[in-house]
C-alpha cells in the first residue's frame, strides 16, 4: 500500500476526536478556509493537490456541500501519476453529479485517457464514465471509444471487462445507442465465451440488458450460455482462482442462468432446439440433484452452502421458465422441499419464496406437487422469523386447491389463535377467499365462514363478513343453515362484534326460515342481548333487523316498539334518527304498507359474481348476462316470498361496483325525507366488498379486462386522465383497482419526453408487465411524429412497488389529436389484463409561450388573416358545464402554451394569447382569442396560425380541455 497522506490522516483524526458537533463543524470550516487559500495560492505540487482534494472528499462524506475544487480536480486528472489521476476522477464525479454539467476540458481528458496506450489510465477513465454517463449526455460522445476498447483482442482483460460494463452504463443512459449500432451486438455476445471470467461475467450483464429490450437480437447467445453453463456446472471446468469455497465461478453461473431466462422470454413461442434443450436439461438436473460435487472439506462451510443454494435458486427459476426436461417440475419441487427444513433462515425464506413463484407459474400441476410439502409449510407458520411465517402463509395460499382446502382452512383457523396480531387480518382474508374459491360443499362453507368470524372476529376487515353475508343472500339453499349456525354462535357467552352484525342482518332477512328451531322471541333476545355493549354501527343494524322482525312477527311488536321509542332518545344522532323514522313507519295509520315496501327482501348481489355461486349450485341464475335481467325480475327470483309478493318492486339499486359509503351516515343523508327511504334502504347495511383479496378475485378482473371491440377500442375511463393531461403536464393518467399510472411530460420545443410511472396498488404482485407505445397515425410514409421508448418498465412490480416507462417524442409536422400515440399495457395480477390508453402527446404540447407586445397582437392577428384567409383560421362557439372567469380562462390558455397578452383586447371579457408551435419541419406562430359570455359558460374561441390545418387542431384540443375541466 502506498504511504498515507499525513495531513489527511491528521485531519480525519481531528474530526474523529471532536467531542461535540460544534467542534467538528469548526474544524471543517477552518479546513475549508485553509484549502481555499492553498488552492488560490496557485503553486501546489501534485501531492498537495491530491491531499487537499481528498480532504474535500472527506468533508463531503461528512455531509457538507462542496462548492469549490473542480478546477483542481481537473488538474489532478491531467496528471501522469496514477494516484493523482485516480483521486482527480473520484472528485470530479462529485462535482459532475452535483451540477450535471460537464465542461470541455473534462471531456478532453476522458477522451485522451480512453485512447492512450496505458491500461491503468483506460481503466480510470472507464470507471469515471460508467458513473457519469447520464450527466449532460456525456455518454453519447464516447460510445465509439468504449466500443473500441471492448472489442479489441489486444486490450487487456482488465480494460475489456470495465469497457463492457461502461457500455452498459451508456446503453442505460441512452438506449438509442443500441439502435444506432446494431452491428455491435454480435461482438458483445461473443464475449460471453471469453476465457477471462471477469470479461465473461461483465459481458453477460451487458447482453442481459440488450436481451431485455430485444431477445431476438441476442439469440446467438443461447448456445454460448448453455455451453458455458455445462462446462461450469457439469464438467466443473474453472480456473483455480475462480473457485469459491469449492464452487466453480458461482456468480457467473447464477448470472448465466438469469441471462438465459431473458433470452427465452416465452418458450412456447421460441422453444429451445432439442440439442441445446438436452444440454440444458443436464445442467439443470445436475444442479437440482443434491449430489455434492465439491471436495468434502468445504461442505460444512456456510459459504459453500450459500453459494450452492444461490445456484439452486437460479436453476429453479430458470427451470420453471423453460422446463427443459420432463421431470423438471418434480425435481424443482423436491429440491425446494428439502430446503424448507434447512437450518439457515435464509434458505427457508428463499425456498418458500421460490415455491410460491413456482406454484404460481406452473398452475395446477405445480400446486399439486407442492401440496406434498404442506405439513412442512404449516410448521413454518410457527417459524422464529416473522418474515418466514409471512412467506409460509403466502405459499399455503398459493398452493391451496379444492382437494386441500378443507385441511388448509382448518389448520389456518387453528393457527389464528397463535398467530401474532399483525398477521391475523391477513390470515382471515386468506381463509375467507380460499373457502369461497374452493368450497365444494355449502354446509362446509357456511360453517367455516362463521367459524372464521367467531375465531378471528375482531381482526377481520369489514369486507370479510360482508362477503359472507353477500354469499348467503345469493344462495337460497344455505340461508336456513346459516341462520341456525348463527344462532348457535350467538348463544356463546362471548363473540366478536362482526358476528353480531352478520346475525342482525341474516336473522332479519331469513330468521323466519328457522322459526321451528329458534322462536322469534329467542332470535330477538339473542340479538338484543348485546345491544348496549356494541358499537353504534351494529346498533343501527340491529334496529333495521327489528324493523324486519316487526313485519314478520306480530308477537314481537310491543317489544320492538319499546326499543324504537327508547332509542328515539339515543345520544347518537344516527341511531336517534333511525329509531325515530322506524317508529314513524310502523305507527303510520295506513296499515303496514310502507313498512312492506321498506323491508322488502334483499335482492341478490348481481353485479359481482363469485366462483362460489357456481360451485354451490343452488342459484342457477345470473351466471352470465345477469346485467341484462331487469331488477324486478331478479327480485322475484330471490326475494323472500312473503314480502316480494306483497309489494311492487322498488327502484333499482343505485350501486354499481362502487363501494357504498358507511351505512349509517349514508342512511341519514338519504332518509331526510320519507319519500327517499324505500329507494335507499334495505341494502344499506351491507356494503359490497371492494375486493376481498388479490389474485383470485373475479371482480377486479372483470373491471380491468375490458371487452375490447377490435383492436382500436380504448379502455373505458381513458378519457378522464387524457383530458386532464392535455391541460397539465403531470398528474394521474389512469387509475383502476389494480394500478395507477402517473404521467409527467417535459417539453423541449418540438421534442417531448414523457415519464409514465406504474404503481401497483393491487394486493399482490404484478407480473409480465409489458408496455408499448404505438403511433396513432395511419400514414407512416410521412410520420407526423416519432416516438421512442427510452426506458422500458420492469416486468415484475411487487406489491406497492412501481416501475416506469420513459419515452421521447419528436413532433415533425401537424397531426390531429385522434392520431395521438396509444399506450398498450398488459400484465398479470390475478388474471391477465390489458389496458389501452391514448397518450396526451398532441400537437398542442409543442406550443410554447411567445410573449407579444400588447400593441403588436392585433397587427399580427390581421397579418395572418390577410395572408392565409380562411385556411389560417378556425373558430368554435361552445358551452361548458362549469363557469370560467377571465382569470381561469387565461390560466388554461397559458397551460396550453399561449402567453396571454394582457389588456390587448378592448373587451375586458376577452382573452388573447400568443404561442409558437415548434415542429421539426419548421416553426409557426399561433394566436388565439377567447371571447367569454358574461355567464362564464359560453365561449367563442378563435385560433389563427401561420400554417394551414394547425389552427383547427389546436382549437379542438383547447375546446376539449375547457369542456372537460
Amino acid at each position: 500500500m502506498s504511504p498515507p497522506m499525513k495531513g489527511l490522516v491528521q485531519f480525519i483524526a481531528d474530526i474523529r476526536n471532536a467531542k461535540v458537533h460544534e467542534e467538528e463543524e469548526k474544524r471543517v470550516q477552518a479546513e475549508l478556509v485553509n484549502i481555499q487559500k492553498q488552492f488560490s495560492s496557485g503553486n501546489l505540487s501534485g501531492y498537495q493537490r491530491k491531499k487537499y482534494i481528498c480532504k474535500l472528499m472527506y468533508i463531503y462524506m461528512l455531509g457538507h456541500r462542496i462548492k469549490f475544487g473542480y478546477r483542481e480536480a481537473i488538474e489532478l486528472i491531467s496528471s501522469q501519476v496514477f494516484s493523482e489521476k485516480q483521486i482527480g476522477y473520484m472528485a470530479a464525479l462529485l462535482f459532475v453529479s452535483g451540477n450535471r454539467e460537464v465542461d470541455g476540458a473534462l471531456i478532453e481528458h476522458v477522451r485522451h485517457d480512453l485512447a492512450v496506450d496505458n491500461s491503468n489510465f483506460n481503466a480510470l477513465a472507464l470507471q469515471f464514465l460508467s458513473c457519469s454517463a447520464e450527466f449532460g449526455q456525456l455518454g453519447a460522445s464516447f460510445e465509439n471509444d468504449v466500443f473500441n476498447l471492448l472489442r479489441s483482442p489486444l486490450t487487456p482483460a482488465l480494460v475489456r471487462k470495465k469497457a463492457c460494463l461502461t457500455m452498459l452504463a451508456l446503453y442505460r443512459a441512452d438506449p438509442q445507442t443500441l439502435s444506432r449500432n446494431p452491428g455491435w451486438v454480435p461482438r458483445i455476445v461473443a464475449l460471453i465465451d471469453d476465457q477471462n471470467l471477469g470479461v465473461a461475467i461483465s459481458a453477460v450483464s451487458l447482453t442481459q440488458f440488450i436481451a431485455r429490450i430485444d431477445p431476438i437480437l441476442c439469440k446467438p447467445a443461447v448456445p454460448l450460455v448453455i455451453g458455458r453453463l455445462h462446462r461450469l456446472v457439469v464438467n466443473r471446468e474453472c480456473p483455480d482462482e475462480y473457485l469459491y469455497y469449492g464452487n466453480p465461478a458461482p456468480w457467473l453461473t447464477v448470472k448465466l442462468m438469469g441471462l438465459l431466462e431473458d433470452l427465452i422470454p416465452d418458450p412456447t413461442e421460441t422453444p429451445l432446439d432439442p440439442a441445446n434443450g438436452a444440454v440444458l436439461g443436464e445442467v439443470l438436473s445436475s444442479t437440482l440433484s443434491s449430489t455434492k460435487l465439491a471436495p468434502a472439506t468445504y461442505h460444512e462451510s456456510l459459504e459453500y452452502r450459500n453459494t450452492r443454494h444461490s445456484i439452486l435458486f437460479a436453476a429453479v427459476s430458470l427451470s420453471s421458465r423453460v422446463d427443459a426436461s420432463p421431470e423438471g417440475l418434480p425435481n424443482v419441487i423436491r429440491a425446494l422441499g428439502g430446503l424448507l427444513e434447512a437450518g439457515e433462515t435464509n434458505a427457508r425464506y428463499l425456498a418458500l419464496d421460490a415455491l410460491t413463484k413456482v406454484a404460481a407459474r406452473s398452475g395446477a400441476s405445480g400446486s399439486q406437487k407442492a401440496v406434498e410439502h404442506l405439513p412442512k409449510v404449516m410448521r413454518l407458520l410457527r417459524d422464529r422469523d416473522v418474515s418466514v411465517r409471512q412467506k409460509a402463509l403466502d405459499l399455503v395460499y398459493a398452493i391451496c386447491d379444492s382437494t386441500s382446502v378443507e385441511n388448509i382452512c382448518r389448520d389456518l383457523l387453528a393457527y389464528m389463535g397463535v398467530a401474532e396480531y399483525s398477521m391475523r387480518p391477513d390470515v382471515a382474508v386468506k381463509v375467507a377467499v380460499l373457502a369461497e374459491k374452493f368450497a365444494t360443499d355449502a354446509t362446509w362453507y357456511v360453517t367455516t365462514a362463521l367459524k372464521l368470524i367467531a375465531v378471528a372476529g375482531s381482526h377481520v376487515a369489514d369486507e370479510v363478513w360482508q362477503r359472507i353475508v353477500q354469499i348467503v343472500v345469493n344462495n337460497e339453499g344455505i340461508q336456513p343453515l346459516a341462520c341456525k349456525t348463527l344462532v348457535r354462535h350467538l348463544k356463546a357467552p362471548s363473540y366478536p362484534e362482526p358476528m353480531l352484525k352478520v346475525g342482525a342482518f341474516l336473522l332479519g332477512e331469513y330468521g323466519h326460515l328457522i322459526e321451528s328451531s329458534a322462536s322469534p322471541k329467542e332470535q330477538f333476545d339473542l340479538v338484543y342481548a348485546k345491544f348496549y355493549q356494541c358499537s353504534f354501527a351494529s346498533r343501527a343494524m340491529i334496529l333495521s333487523c327489528f324493523l324486519k322482525f316487526f313485519l314478520k312477527y306480530e308477537e314481537l311488536r310491543p317489544l320492538i316498539l319499546d326499543v324504537f321509542e327508547s332509542e328515539s332518545a339515543s345520544i347518537d344522532s344516527e341511531i336517534q334518527q333511525r329509531a325515530l323514522e322506524y317508529l314513524k313507519i310502523v305507527t303510520r295509520n295506513d296499515g303496514l304498507s310502507l313498512l312492506k315496501i321498506v323491508t322488502v327482501g334483499m335482492p341478490s348481489f348481481t353485479n359481482k359474481t363469485s366462483p362460489l355461486i357456481a360451485r354451490l349450485g343452488s342459484v342457477k341464475i345470473f351466471e352470465k348476462g345477469y346485467s341484462k335481467v331487469p331488477d324486478s325480475l331478479k327480485r322475484d327470483i330471490t326475494g323472500i316470498s312473503s314480502s316480494a309478493s306483497a309489494v311492487p318492486p322498488p327502484a333499482p339499486h343505485p350501486r354499481k361496483g362502487a363501494p357504498a359509503p358507511p351505512p349509517p351516515r349514508n342512511h341519514a343523508a338519504s332518509s331526510a325525507t320519507l319519500q327517499s327511504l324505500p329507494r335507499s334502504f334495505s341494502s344499506q347495511d351491507v356494503i359490497l366488498p371492494q375486493s376481498t383479496s388479490g389474485s383470485s378475485n373475479p371482480f377486479d378482473r372483470s373491471r380491468t379486462a375490458s371487452p375490447t371491440k377490435g383492436l382500436a377500442a380504448l379502455s373505458p375511463n381513458w378519457e378522464e386522465g387524457y383530458t386532464r393531461l392535455l391541460r397539465f403536464d403531470q398528474g394521474v393518467f389512469f387509475e383502476n383497482s389494480l394500478l395507477k399510472i402517473i404521467y409527467r411530460l417535459t417539453r423541449e420545443t418540438n421534442s417531448l419526453s414523457g415519464d409514465l410511472q406504474v404503481v401497483n396498488k393491487s394486493p399482490s404482485q404484478i407480473t409480465g408487465l409489458v408496455m408499448e407505445i404505438r403511433p396513432g397515425f395511419l400514414n407512416s410514409d410521412d410520420p407526423p411524429y416519432m416516438i421512442n421508448v427510452t426506458k422500458v418498465p420492469d416486468a415484475f412490480v411487487p406489491e406497492n412497488g412501481r416501475t416506469r416507462l420513459q419515452f421521447q417524442a419528436t413532433i415533425r409536422t401537424e397531426f390531429g389529436d385522434s392520431e395521438a400515440p396509444v399506450l398498450n399495457l398488459s400484465f398479470v395480477s390475478g388474471g391477465f389484463s390489458t389496458i389501452r390508453l391514448r397518450l396526451p402527446v398532441v400537437l398542442a404540447k409543442a406550443v410554447a409561450h411567445a410573449p407579444l407586445e400588447r400593441s403588436s397582437f392585433f397587427s399580427r392577428w390581421g397579418q395572418i388573416g390577410s395572408a392565409l384567409g380562411a385556411e389560417g383560421e378556425s373558430q368554435l362557439i361552445f358551452k361548458t358545464t362549469t363557469a370560467f372567469s377571465v382569470q381561469n380562462s387565461s390560466r388554461i390558455l397559458s397551460q396550453l402554451g399561449f402567453a396571454v397578452v394582457d389588456n390587448a383586447d378592448p373587451n375586458p371579457n376577452n382573452v388573447v394569447g400568443a404561442g409558437i408551435l415548434h415542429t421539426a419541419t419548421g416553426v409557426s406562430g399561433c394566436l388565439c382569442r377567447l371571447e367569454i359570455a358574461p355567464d362564464g359558460q359560453q365561449f367563442r374561441l378563435t385560433m389563427r396560425c401561420t400554417r394551414p390545418r394547425v389552427a383547427g387542431i389546436i382549437l379542438s384540443t383547447a375546446v376539449s380541455v375547457f369542456k372537460q375541466t
Binding site: M1, S2, P4, V9, I12, R16, M57, Y58, M61, V81, F82, S83, Q86, M90, S97, N120, L126, Q127, S130, E134, L158, K162, L165, T166, L168, A169, R172, L197, G198, I201, S202, S205, E241, Y242, Y244, P250, W251, E303, N306, T307, H309, S310, F313, A314, T345, N346, Y349, L350, R384, D385, V386, S387, V388, D794, F796, V797, P798, G801, R802, T803
Partner: protein, 144 residues
C-alpha cells in the same frame, strides 16, 4: 439494474462506505442511508434472514463486527449471490488491510472505493476472483 447502492454502516448509523449506482441527489442518498440503517437495526439478527424488502427493491445485508454491509438490489436478483458478494468484499478488504477494522475504512476511504471499483461497476458484478482483485489493487499501489 442490479445493484442500486452499496453501503457499510456502523451501528450508530454513520455511513462508512457508500457507493451509488443510480442517480440520486445528496439529500435522497442521505435520507435513504438513514432509512436503511433504521430498517436493518430493527431486525432480529439471530433469527431473521439477511434479506428484507425495501421500497420496491430488496436489501441484502450482513453484519461484520460493528459494521453492516448492505446491497440494495432488484426484486428479481438472486439474494444469496449478493450475500456472498458481501462476504467476498469483506474477505478482500481483510486481506488488503491485513485484518481490516472500521478505522481502516475511515482513514482509507479512497482505497476502499478503489477496491469496490475493481469488483463492481455500473451496478453489476465485474470481478469475482479474490486473487485477481487483490493482485490488481496491490499493483496500482506500486504505480506511484
Amino acid at each position: 439494474m442490479a445493484i442500486q447502492f452499496l453501503l457499510a454502516l456502523n451501528r450508530q448509523g454513520k455511513t462508512r462506505v457508500s457507493k451509488w449506482y443510480v442517480n440520486a441527489s445528496d439529500e435522497e442518498k442521505w435520507k435513504t442511508e438513514s432509512q436503511v440503517h433504521k430498517l436493518i437495526c430493527s431486525r432480529d439478527h439471530k433469527n431473521q434472514s439477511n434479506f428484507v424488502q425495501f421500497q420496491s427493491r430488496k436489501l441484502v445485508y450482513k453484519r461484520y463486527a460493528g459494521l453492516f454491509f448492505c446491497f440494495c438490489i432488484d426484486v428479481q436478483d438472486n439474494e444469496l449471490s449478493y450475500l456472498e458478494s458481501i462476504r467476498l468484499l469483506v474477505e478482500v478488504l481483510d486481506s488488503y488491510f491485513n485484518n481490516v477494522c472500521e478505522l481502516d475504512l475511515v482513514f482509507n476511504f479512497y482505497k476502499v472505493s478503489e477496491v469496490i471499483d475493481e469488483m463492481f461497476l455500473s451496478g453489476e458484478i465485474e470481478e469475482t476472483s479474490k486473487d485477481v482483485i487483490l493482485q490488481r489493487v496491490q499493483e496500482t499501489a506500486k504505480l506511484d
